[in-house]
């Protein structure tokens, strides 16, 4: 039997909400630029920004949920799903939450398998899931997304920001992000489509990476992989120094210069060349992965 209840925006309240009080409606006033911390195990977390200074939570809770902890502490609003002690993984502990927050709120969301969806929030985001999928729009100066195996789909607004993306095996698709990006994965695949890049630090152990984007003046791109394939497509005109090195992988370069052996007798290939005035720097290393560089 699924408990279903609705928490409707209305009153000032700073106390904890309990899911089993079906006639208890909750909403909380919130600072327009406050912090909203959301914690859920399974189900969904769907957050959208609005122009009211209120945090509203609606949703449904599975049988395995003990209660929903919903309270504010100063400028922090806390929404936390608490499971019953007896609830095990995949055993009715789902909570589907629809949350509306002041648009400029800073979000801090942690889930296990619950998917995270965020849109129309302009504050900084810190999103973390174990296996849940993360889908977000970023319109802030900074965003951090971490998953173990959950896939990530992140779309920016082309504004300069600092993005930090980490997955263990989850795949990630990033688009319309500008500024600085740090993306790290062990075995996930990363697909990045960037607007104006100032700095990129990209690392994979075995995952593949495909980056497409334009470099700002004096941009710096550092890519490294052990056995994944790295593919870079830079928007023309390209104005960069390239330093590419691999121990046992291949180097494909459509700009012209071919890679050469590092030494007469040993393994390793390298490619150093300048395109245009060379104001930016692109440095890519691999142990055995293939590195491809091209323009469009």
């Amino acid at each position: 039997m699924i408990k279903r209840f609705f928490l409707v925006a209305a009153l000032l309240c700073a106390s904890t909400a309990y899911a089993d009080e079906e006639d208890f409606d909750h909403s909380l006033q919130a600072d327009p630029k406050g912090d909203v911390e959301i914690s859920n195990v399974a189900g969904t977390v769907n957050v959208s920004g609005w122009d009211r200074q209120v945090v509203q939570v609606t949703g449904s809770l599975g049988e395995g949920v003990e209660r929903l902890d919903f309270r504010s502490e100063g400028k922090r609003t806390i929404i936390k799903v608490l499971l019953k002690k007896s609830t095990h993984w995949g055993d009715g502990g789902d909570a589907d939450l629809q949350i509306r927050v002041p648009a400029a709120s800073r979000l801090d969301i942690n889930t296990v398998s619950a998917d995270i969806v965020v849109h129309d929030v302009t504050g900084a985001q810190r999103l973390q899931a174990v296996s849940g999928e993360v889908t977000t729009e970023v319109d802030a100066e900074e965003a951090e997304v971490k998953t173990v195996s959950g896939d990530v789909s992140l779309r920016g607004e082309g504004k300069t920001s600092v993005l930090n993306l980490t997955t263990v095996s989850g795949n990630a698709q990033v688009s319309h992000v500008a500024g600085e990006i740090t993306a790290t994965t062990v075995s996930g695949d990363l697909t990045l489509s960037l607007d104006k890049l100032t700095r990129a630090r990209l690392r994979t152990t075995s995952g593949d990476l495909s980056m497409r984007g334009a470099m700002a003046d004096s941009a710096r791109v550092d890519g490294e992989t052990i056995s994944g394939d790295l593919s870079f497509t830079f928007k023309s005109p390209v104005d960069a120094e390239f330093d590419i090195e691999t121990f046992s992988g291949d180097i494909n370069n459509c700009f012209g210069p071919k890679s050469q052996s590092k030494s007469e007798h040993g393994p390793g290939r390298e490619l150093h060349f300048r395109q245009g005035a060379g104001s930016s720097q692109v440095r890519v290393n691999s142990l055995s992965g293939t590195i491809s560089i091209c323009d469009r």
């Binding site: 914690s39 859920n40 195990v41 003990e66 209660r67 936390k80 799903v81 608490l82 499971l83 019953k84 002690k85 609830t87 993984w89 995949g90 942690n110 296990v112 398998s113 973390q128 174990v130 296996s131 971490k146 173990v148 195996s149 980490t166 263990v168 095996s169 790290t184 062990v186 075995s187 690392r203 152990t205 075995s206 490294e224 052990i226 056995s227 090195e245 691999t246 121990f247 046992s248 590092k262 040993g266 393994p267 390793g268 290393n285 142990l287 055995s288």
Partner: protein, 213 residues
Amino acid sequence: MKDELHTGDEQDDVLKAVGQLPQSIEPQRDLWPDIASRLDALVPARRRGLQMGWTLALAAGLGCVALGALLAVGVMKGSGSSTTGNLTAQATSPATTALPAQTTAPASGDTAQVRQASLGGYAMLGPEYEQARAQLLIGLAERLDRLPPVERQKVERNLNEIRRALGELNAALQLAPNDTLLRELLLNTYHDELTLLANVNQIADTIPSRSQS
């Protein structure tokens, strides 16, 4: 050590069957080259000549939060010649792929010079690194337990992925001990392992708790 069955156990068919199992199982590959490399790390710094600038701050205990607060880059101590006998604190060497047969007879010239570039194990990265890693590993098993079983397997699989990469790098360094690219990749991959451990610890720490009521 005794090779015979315990007196009085002959009547126990289970113990009899267990006693017939081979005591010796050869590893799938020769571990001596890696061991020898790590023993080289115990040679005093003045003989090694490998200078790297890398410092690792000790992981902030069980409550490690963000990686940026956890790890810092500094100067790696040149000497790995710690004489600590504390086995529980010992870092483990990475799983490595099969290596070509290696002679252990001293090569012409300075053996230490030839071996120095092969980092060959966590001990080479200095006691601070080992401490940070050991600290993260202490909490790892408990934190992995907090994850759903499927996710725990994925983390372990990816840790093994990194350790396989370390093995490949160490194997490559055997062939090209002075290759700076390999050394850089190796150090970064050791760092990747620490990063993964710290991230897993941090993610597990934030997993929603169960009600106390």
